[in-house]
Amino acid sequence: MSPADNEKLDQVFSAIREEAEKRRKAFREAPVPKIHIGMATCGIASGALETKKAFEETLAERNIEALIHPVGCIGHCYAEPVVIIDHPDSGFPPIFYHEVTAGKAKMLVKLFLEEGDPRFEHILGATVENDLIPSVMEFSRFNQEKRVVMEKCGYIDPEDIYDYIAEGGYSMLVKVLQLTPDKIIKEVRNSGLRGRGGAGFPTGKKWELAMHAEGQIKIVICNADEGDPGAYMDRTILESNPHQVLEGMAICAYAVGANKAVVYIRAEYPLAVKIVTKAIQQAKELGLLGKGILSSTFDLEIDVFRGSGAFVCGEETALIRSIEGYRGMPRHRPPYPVEKGLWGHPTVINNVKTLASVPPILENGATWFRGIGTENSPGTAIFSVVGNVVHAGLVEIPMGVTLRTLIFDICGGILNKKKFRAVQIGGPSGGCLPADLLDTPIDFDSLTEAGAMMGSGGMVVMDEDTCMVDVARYFLDFTQKESCGKCTFCRIGTHHLLRILERLTKGEGQDKDLEQLESLSEDIKTGSLCGLGKTAPNPALTSLKYFRDEYEAHVKEKRCPALMCRSLIAYYFDLDLCARGCDACATCCPVEAVFTTSNRKKGVDQELCVKCGECMVACPPEYDAVRKVSPSNLVPVVERAPEKK
């Protein structure tokens, strides 16, 4: 491109940027309080819509002027709905409030906006350092994170493109349009960025292959299929800052020479679909996408494709088949999509987080990015940390932080003061790691070495009450159902693995089952066609490796050490603790298995009991008389149940 064009480019973009800054200034300087409400799916699920309505209604009722600013998600799910109130007249800095229900919203309008009392008991912290209120940055859930991809998530309105532009958005697209493609690819290569979709393939290399691939037409696909159970990193990013992903896609498209791009989002993410569709529309209206982007000669059309929610459609070749209108079944690679992808054209497929990492890399430089994380895994990792952990949610940390730091420091450790049992990383393709591997650094290579996998960001923390055999069974049940059915090892092999695991949890396991589990798993890993089958045995293999004693207890003693497998446990009441005349357990038992003993305490009719554990929940804590044992034949017989008439 000639410099004259560059001048024009800068000029066109400056006008857009000025408009964005003008709007931002008007918002900031408006002499009224601002209420920022987290309105991504997680917030909405916790009641953010009701919270917003309560703010609106109470403001109107009390005739208070304030601006409501819907924003995305900051990732602190344990605290949803999250609200930031910026009320300069009160003399306080902007404040983070957690769990702001509709009732709390009403109260905050009255007491804080009207009377200036910030209600300290509901505060998470101030957004900035100050003398009045401790800042959230004193909280390790905030200060040990490193935000690169999610820096703007939860602070900008995802449905307003000017909000993103005012934060410097799209300026990297403008910059790259003035560079040659190989310069851009070199920068991405130098940054060491590796794909965040799971396999960690070097992004620069992928782009380079696509740039050199033969073909008039090239395509970029953003993979937002996100099928791992319990993982929602990509959804949150798309719902909180869609333009950063679109900007990354546009940069990629320009670099590899593509004029067509697709965002592949699962249909179960309706809000993400809506927000991304709107974002594309807004970007087109401003000339940041579409024909002749910012008066240059570069064209890019981005479409949204809604996937039907099959896990296997996250696999790149199946994803391509599914866009082409076929059954989502993976194909043999090579040819890789960069040579022969969608409709046969060279195609770059990158994960949402990979693409969203690109604008910050270009803005701050490859060296800056390499300064974050580890030598072989530069940058940050985003996990959705869920399960038995205190501060669940999305966490963005520099690669290389240990699992211990992430789980115990940043996420506050295990809920209810229980002991840690295992952490499952990488979703159904990943593995379960035990306590002695908690000092493993989180990076592509260390996790793979430990038998787990970086995956795309799912992390489930499990406490001492978790049965590892049952966890393996759960994941195999998932992969087995989500197998496309194409190849022998995955279709039939995972089914046998599941059956064996089911037998174990029912106490029907045999000695040879463990060996068969192992040898069949090895063969499935080597023999399967695609990544789904190749990794499906991982949860079984790792739990077998690290928790073999639990498996053996299930087989040899018919005992479930975590007291979770229903077939292997029994409930009874400790009569020293059971309160005479109390009926709490009996009234909630769904099968009338609780009977009254001759001294008016309670007993369990083992024949009727379905081991649902409702009695344990119902027993008042001051008695705490319900006990569980495994194997079930250890249950003491206190008194026989009376004959039922």
């Binding site: 043999h332 090892f489 279709r491 046998h496 063969d523 080597t526 066609l529």
Partner: protein, 214 residues
Amino acid sequence: MPKLLVDNKEIEVKEGTTLLQACLDNGIYIPNLCYLESMDDPSASCRMCFVEIEGEEKPITSCTVTVKDDMVVKTDTLSVRRLHRTAFRLLLSVHHVDCKNCHVNKKCELQRIAKYLEVGLKPKHLEQHLKEPDIDQDHPFLDYYPNRCVLCGKCIHICRKKHGQSVLTFAKRGFDTVISSYGKNDVSSLACEKCVVCVDICPVGALILKEAQE
């Protein structure tokens, strides 16, 4: 023309041939169920035709490899055999073995592979899991036996090749995957009455013309 060494035998084949085809053409058998020379893209789904190639870390399906000069290939190493046998046993674990009453008895590809691999047709290692019902009679002209089918996909491919669009398709997912058909209700538009390509190509007798059974 590339020359390669397979099990210490030198063979010379046309450029662009798949390794599996090259071996089969030269009298070297590798177990296979889903491969058809006429497919542009090998489906590579039966996972039977594993071989070891010098320089490759792991066994690899020979239908997905194009021959190269000086390739050194082994078709019967321990690890290759282990995969052959496991894949075969998996297939048999869902196969209703009833050869006496099967119309492809003695012509069945599974019988051939069993003999070749020296694996009994009634495997002891894995539990048998059969689908219900044993026969799908939905199609006006064809009966389908899910517990014979190995889901190689040849029937779908050949139907599409002959008619431009396949009447047959994969249906359901995971372990429940079966072959199903389209357009059954409009019998007049079905070419099936006079066409038996799918029946002929099925390696295991999972498809059969209704009238042939009567």
